[in-house]
Amino acid sequence: MKRQSWSGLSLLWRSISRHRSWREQWRQAQPKPAYDAVIIGGGGHGLGTAYYLAAEHGLTNIAVVEKGWIGGGNTGRNTTIIRSNYLFDESIRLYDHALKLWERLSQELNYNVMFSPRGVMMLAHTVHDAQVLKRHVHANRCNGVDNEWLTPTEAKAFCPPLNIGADIRYPVMGAALQRRGGTARHDAVAWGYARAADAQGVDIIENCEVTGIRRGATGTVEALETTRGLIRSSRIGVVAAGNSSVVMQMAGVQLPLESFPLQALVSEPVKAVFPCVVMSNSIHAYISQSDRGELVIGAGTDAYTSYTQRGALHVNMHTLEAICELFPSFRRLRMLRNWGGIVDVTPDRSPIIGKTPVPGLYVNCGWGTGGFKATPGSAQVFAWTMAHDEPHPINAPFTLERFRDGALIDEAAAAAVAH
């Protein structure tokens, strides 16, 4: 089925013709008995992988299987922050590759993902914070990535609601600003990739839970057992986020992952009051304003591993206390909704993207609390890895073997907290 191309003109024409000619954006595909490649997990990273496999590597007899609905996991549950100001060279290359793809993603997919590079400002509240963030600024600039140090006054000029008073519990001592960072519409990323992949012939199979991975006599993957029948494929990519340990266990692979609930919440919608993204790693406050007007607030992870997609209220309260102190004008806002997602965290807080000990089985996991920003870059290099049966130079350092070889990419120590 040919994709309907969208533009301002087509919108106008469909409006005049009473919106009767809109078609579904992707087919409700039924699983076929066999595919050249199958992606497990219909989030942004998985759908994107399918799209790039089809669009850039000519693999069109492929499927994405998703146990729920597409974009219903962490893609639809995150706080949509996009940035690339990581500390280590390997991370900077990976995340900035993604950021460059974000900049033209709407055009590439013919789908408005509402990428808004409004600037991401990370606050420093202690001498240690200031040293760490300045080190990030220098590391980024050495790699050609924009990041600049702001004084408290400059930070307030960039984000007027910010309280830079000296009398608060954690006064603002400065900030690192990445102007190219920002936000995007998370649902649109899943839908845009799904529509673009479908147009290339990719089958997107929802409500299809993988229950087993079959391997042949030589250990190679042969088929997936699913709730909608057996699907044969000799090339399988696991992009299952919080459930990666569970899925990989089906193939006998144990991963260095732990799954934690990560919570977020939104306020009632208000007029445009917040011009950028502000993050404070030290006091766990992450905030921006959606185009609908809701303040989108990210909280921290709960302390314990869980698959429940919910967490405890005290975690949200901890973040709201920090938000109210940093932005006193938000104290009377009511919160509208809160929810949780399950994030798969590695010991070094860097993802695992690459091959596995099982031939034909590939994994893209461990994005922890910050995977959304990497969606296009992660998907593109993972598709390359699956197509060539070897890692792309950008994801080559992010192997599973780095834990054995001691080549950690320790963004955990770099940030000291989740990011």
Binding site: N243, S245, V246, Q254, L255, P256, L257, E258, S259, A303, Y304, T305, S306, Y307, T308, A312, L313, H314, P347, F403, R404, D405, G406
Partner: protein
């Protein structure tokens, strides 16, 4: 917030506790004989099950003692808590 049954102090709110990760990890008795992969497995690989999980907790703002718990990670309900050194209960 979870209500956690400390084997020494009884049921207390989660805020009094610190999580200690997977339980029953035993440090290798002959570390010099371990290969890189075995070290990686010991240091980094975790079971991370969807279901019953044996894990350590510490009653940090109470008696200060470590203990183990068996919790279902799909419901967050505790099946049991037990003292360090005790065997993992059936289940």
């Amino acid at each position: 917030m979870l209500l956690i049954d400390c084997p020494w102090c009884g049921k207390r709110p989660e805020l009094e506790f610190a999580y200690g990760g997977q339980a029953h990890l035993v440090r290798p008795s002959r570390p010099a004989e371990l290969g890189d992969q075995q070290w990686a497995d010991y240091l980094y690989v975790r079971r991370n099950p969807s279901g019953l999980h044996a894990e350590r907790w510490r009653h940090a703002h109470g008696c200060g003692r470590f203990f183990n718990a068996l919790r279902d990670t799909t419901t967050d309900q505790f099946a049991a808590t037990y003292k360090i050194g005790d065997r993992r209960p059936a289940g």
